[in-house]
Subunit: 311 residues, 2 copies
């Protein structure tokens, strides 16, 4: 079972409007609500891929109840821990005229020390039977900035592979614990390392503790850097669709292979294939499973010359 | 007591973001939630003006509970009627960089025949002690399109003055019942009457049943047309601020004077003064009461030559 921690889950609400024009009022022609947050999306994709998973989700308030109800309705194995503050929302506005997707994210409720301890305890209890631990998304206000580092330590002590997908301070503090895989996008990598060159940034992230770094580069595919080796991977044909959640799908694809202790080029291939298949899904956490199965072997994985990697 | 019906209330959620750029993700630096919908805003302004009011609000679901709790916290006299569907949200995104306000409105829950009957019953029970009836905002899905007409009929039978502020089909069906005052903005008037000339539109609305029409023209002030007379009104100095809810404030100012059976030029003056003072309030339903008291007499009200009115 792949244990997925969503420290700061959300009720994702998607409004479809005719066209989003700043400074005007739009009536939503449809409103779609479901459980979200990076980790929930990762767990949802793992579940769709047939990989056993368990989502750990601290929830509170009315929207927290809706998150729990949606996870149950989706048949997604999960463990909720109760918090006093109300679970946040993320608002997605889909402009039907041009397909533009605009997001506004609430910061999330303040989590108390004892509420965070409950998350740590749940990981401690569950991790002995886990094949991998995934920590995904932002930390809520109130959680310790090295909160993910503590969870990664717990998994490492048990020999369980770890994946970290977060940003900012939580990312910098988390990589110090030596996660097996970190998956920043180009923006997150630049913020964390101060360079906009993906290879240089990935090397800097390795120097700070990350064992392997996958940098998602949108339509340009993905760059992977590990100990003494690096690869670029991409799909032969660019897909159009909903790129929200494509990074979460990449984490799911990679985690599935990492849990099976597969070699890095295969972990990378699945990350790219699942991410690509997710672009054809309607919402974050959805994917076109047939597309993944059909196109998985068509992903191009190329090793990058070692001279550049050992900079 | 001025009875205010909000058939389709909302939880108004305002997100402040650094800048709203379509196609990107923004983190909200603040989230403000409160009870809203046109009628709730009208009642809130009446309450601030010291005018006795009662807000009738059908509510359901988690956001409905938040609406009720917020009305109670504001000390606003209200009567909730319970509905099965969840009360809608309106999402306001305030772009801090340029002050641009962008709104996305949910359509609202489906209201059953018996739930609508409960609203009608509440009006029937309360209207004998009312000094005016205000019907404001959209009708929820499921309510009869002539829902406001039925409420206006009840008030007319009791000799209670009536104010209607809605749009589209609900407006056209409502004016057939002969409300004493209708307050469309220029867009609503054009949609309902097919002309973008405010005077022509107001005359057409009178021909369809409205006794008096106030057309709100934004910074251009307001046009009033009644039986054989018309006025233009405006403020001497244009104010900058939050124009969301300025129309609702105009309805509140007008209703207060109409309930006191004041002459139309004075009703118009208060509509303009209160609307203008609301622009200085932080959120829809707020107003700068001192500004209204100080500037009330400075509102310019000019009669329009009768030859043009009797077209």
């Amino acid at each position: 079972m792949i244990l997925v921690v969503t420290a700061n889950p959300a009720l994702d609400v998607t409004y479809t409007v005719p066209v989003l024009t700043p400074g005007t009022m739009s009536r939503a022609s449809s409103v779609h609500r479901r459980a979200g947050g990076k980790g929930v999306n990762v767990a949802r994709v793992l579940h769709a891929l047939g990989a056993p998973t368990l989502a750990l989700v601290p929830c509170g308030g009315g929207d927290g109840r809706l998150v729990g109800a949606d996870l149950a309705a989706a048949g997604l194995p999960h463990e909720l821990s109760s918090i006093a503050g109300p679970t946040r929302r993320t608002v997605t506005i889909l402009s039907a005229a041009d397909g533009t997707v605009t997001l506004v994210n609430e910061p999330g409720p303040l989590v108390s020390a004892s509420e965070w301890d409950a998350v740590v305890s749940a990981v401690r209890r569950r991790v002995p039977r886990a094949s991998a631990l995934v920590c995904a998304g932002s930390l809520p206000p109130g959680a310790p900035v090295d909160g993910y580092a503590e969870l990664i330590d717990l998994a490492r002590q048990g020999g369980v592979p770890t994946v970290l997908d977060t940003s900012g301070e939580a990312l910098l503090a988390g990589i110090a614990a030596g996660p097996d895989l970190v998956k920043p996008n180009a923006t997150e990598l630049c913020e964390a390392t101060g360079t906009d060159d993906p290879l240089t940034g990935a090397l800097r992230m390795r120097a700070r503790g990350a064992r392997t770094v996958f940098v998602s580069l949108g339509a340009e595919g993905m760059l992977a850097v590990t100990d003494g080796a690096a690869w670029r991977a991409g799909v032969p044909r660019r897909l159009r669709g909903n790129t929200t959640g494509a990074g979460d799908a990449a984490v799911a694809g990679a985690s599935m292979e990492l849990a099976a202790r597969r070699p890095w080029p295969e972990v990378l291939r699945s990350a790219v294939s699942v991410s690509s298949a997710s672009v054809l899904g309607a919402y974050a956490g959805d994917l076109d499973l047939d597309h993944h199965r059909r196109e998985h072997r068509a992903v191009i994985v190329e090793e990058i010359h070692a001279a550049r990697v050992d900079v």
